[in-house]
């Protein structure tokens, strides 16, 4: 699988875990962001093929960041990282334009399948 990915999560632990899963699949992590503001800035600077976006983050939530990114690039591909119990927020993000979601705790094969599907749709 090929693609340049931006990882947005306020927890270094989760960023590392996503990075390991992505790199094992041959994807390139081109940047990391620790909150929604950084995610939007990094998206503008790096133009990644895909963004993995945590929902609960400081300064600007993942959902607000998705909205800002899509206002900059309506074709942007963002996959939300959610946890059980965040169904309403996931729905809000998808309605805002997020392409899909992955659920914590991550299962590598499930994460890979979701990202592959989103990247292939883009081609």
């Amino acid at each position: 699988m090929k693609g340049r990915v931006l990882v947005a999560d306020d927890a270094a632990f989760m960023r590392q875990m996503i990075r390991d899963i992505l790199e094992a699949e041959g994807l390139e992590v081109v940047g990391e962001a620790v909150d929604g503001v950084e995610a939007v800035e990094a998206f503008e600077r790096l133009h990644p093929d895909l963004v993995t976006m945590d929902i609960v983050m400081p300064r600007c939530s993942g959902i607000d960041a998705v909205k800002r990114i899509l206002s900059l690039d309506p074709g942007a591909r963002v996959v939300m990282c959610s946890a059980l119990g965040q169904e309403t927020l996931v729905m809000e993000a998808v309605q805002a334009g997020a392409k899909d979601f992955i659920v914590k705790p991550f299962k590598p094969e499930s994460v890979s399948a979701t990202l592959k599907k989103v990247l292939e749709k883009a081609e």
Partner: protein, 146 residues
């Protein structure tokens, strides 16, 4: 996956988060409606839950989940109820501190205190009943200890 690497990351980040929760609870003693402190405790509990669940530390994941849910209800209420609720949140913090310390010492997380879980959940049954479960096969931890 390198379990030792993730455990070290968990211990470092969880310890930082618990320190942040402690400072936020102290500020809530002075200002029970501090939105910043309420949001911070919610966010830190959420983060600890995700990390612990990824490593199979079920007791920590369960307790931090209950604390997160409680803080979600506090957000809705707009303030922490002084006295009993503040004391309960501190008990939750102290229990998490003990459990994370146990992971550092033994590599294992103890079970959560059932009575504390019940007390944190009190008043949230109706809200929980409204939540739907996500259709996912990702509900098991990525990293299980052998």
């Amino acid at each position: 996956m390198d379990l030792a690497k993730y455990r070290a990351l968990f211990l470092e980040e969880a310890t930082d988060h618990l320190g942040e929760i402690s400072r936020a609870l102290l500020s809530l003693e002075k200002d029970a409606a501090s939105r910043e402190a309420i949001d911070l405790v919610f966010r830190m509990a959420h983060s600890i839950k995700s990390m612990a669940a990824s490593l199979g530390y079920d007791g920590i994941a369960e307790l931090s989940h209950k604390l997160e849910d409680r803080m979600d209800r506090v957000r809705t209420a707009g303030r922490v109820a002084p006295g009993e609720e503040t004391a309960l949140l501190f008990r939750g913090l102290q229990a998490l501190e003990r459990m994370v310390a146990a992971v550092a010492k033994t590599g294992e997380a103890p079970a959560a205190d059932a009575e504390l879980l019940r007390e944190l959940a009190r008043g949230g049954e109706a809200a929980d009943a409204l939540k739907k479960k996500l259709p996912t096969s990702s509900a098991r931890p990525l990293l299980r200890r052998p």
